[in-house]
Symmetry: C2
DNA sequence: GTCTATAATTTGATAGAC
DNA sequence: GTCTATCAAATTATAGAC
């Protein structure tokens, strides 16, 4: 692994756990096994470094989903598999959602500019279209809009990872119970969302 | 307003917008119209100050709900009103959820110790009990546990406020459209959750 | 209680040798 | 490319006058 890769790995870990303001360049250099000077040789500044890290993670967090929602599966199969796969991915990478959300709160403009330049497409566009098509075919019977649906889906999938500690407190459960609950959610969330689409609007 | 109150108000604003690591004692002193020395006279340290701020906000964010869920209304009315009132509260105080979540991620132990000392009860206990009672009376027919239900409810209510910027990007909408969507959610989220409780388990 | 002045430390970043 | 040494600025916190 090159020094540059080691730096990126160490920086990712530091930013994921401490956030931009809490992260320390010194700490990143130490973890990467190099000195501070070299950090600034490869990455001009702390800001430039986190932009790079954010960009990779944002791609990662949404690319998995794109594959599924662009597949040939039926809408309901896409949703079921998409949610299962995604929650499993989040169990393996639990800190990404809070980091991404926090960075966009801290400096939306800088990140969006960079993503625009790199032509990262906004996720879920494809899913939204599939839902509207299924609605025309009467497979979707509720009056939930695709936008509302996607927001509900994101909320149910991502919130437990963003607010892990808060949930463990309000529900008075420990790590083990929490993780068991997460695994259950794979089926449970898909079921809830699909029912919402299928139930007839009144 | 006393100097101490002015400090607390300024500190709340600073911590809500910048978080612990991003907040500056100098900035708080300026906003409060006092000097830095006085900050440390009233509050020993930055840490002590944020503990105080967190504690008040955490109480605030959950006390509204407790009133409703301890009322004499029927379960489904409690849920409907609780969600409506709460989302409206969040529209008025949109930064609280991200702050609370972030602080618990940063230093769970310190905050929990303080809340235990102050005997702040974990929220939603009452709601959980009501659901289980309604299940015995066959008013709740699904196999969704009360824990799962509460987690779904928190996710659907809080996530849009935690991840506001991310949602606006992924959905490609502006402030106005986002806020219209939030208002819609009052009814829409309640409807979805209640349906989940009423639908028969298969 | 409220202020000024300053201590003590830490931070991100740069200069320059090799 | 990689390192050492160091700068300049900013931070929290304290001491002490009034």
């Amino acid at each position: 692994m090159s020094k540059e890769e080691k730096i990126l790995e160490a920086a990712t870990d530091e930013f994921l756990t401490k956030g931009y303001d809490g992260a320390r360049m010194r700490s990143i250099a130490e973890s990467a096994g190099i000195n501070k000077g070299l950090l600034h040789y490869y990455f001009k500044s702390k800001e430039a470094l986190i932009l790079k890290v954010f960009h990779s993670l944002f791609r990662e967090i949404f690319s998995e989903l794109s594959d599924i929602f662009n597949s040939e599966l039926s809408l309901f199969e896409q949703i079921e598999r998409g949610i299962g796969t995604y929650i499993e991915f989040l169990i393996q990478n639990p800190r990404i959602p809070f980091f991404v959300v926090g960075e966009l709160n801290r400096d939306k403009k800088a990140h969006l500019r960079r993503m625009k330049e790199a032509k990262v497409p906004p996720p879920f566009m494809e899913l939204g279209r599939s839902i509207e098509e299924a609605r025309k075919r009467k497979e979707v019977k509720s009056d939930t809009t695709s936008r509302e649906f996607i927001l509900n889906m994101m909320s149910l999938m991502l919130f437990p990872f963003v607010a892990r500690e808060m949930i463990m407190f309000t529900q008075q459960i420990n790590e083990k119970e929490f993780e068991a609950m997460l695994r259950n959610r794979k089926k449970q969330v898909a079921q809830l969302l699909i029912m919402d689409l299928k139930v007839k609007a009144k």
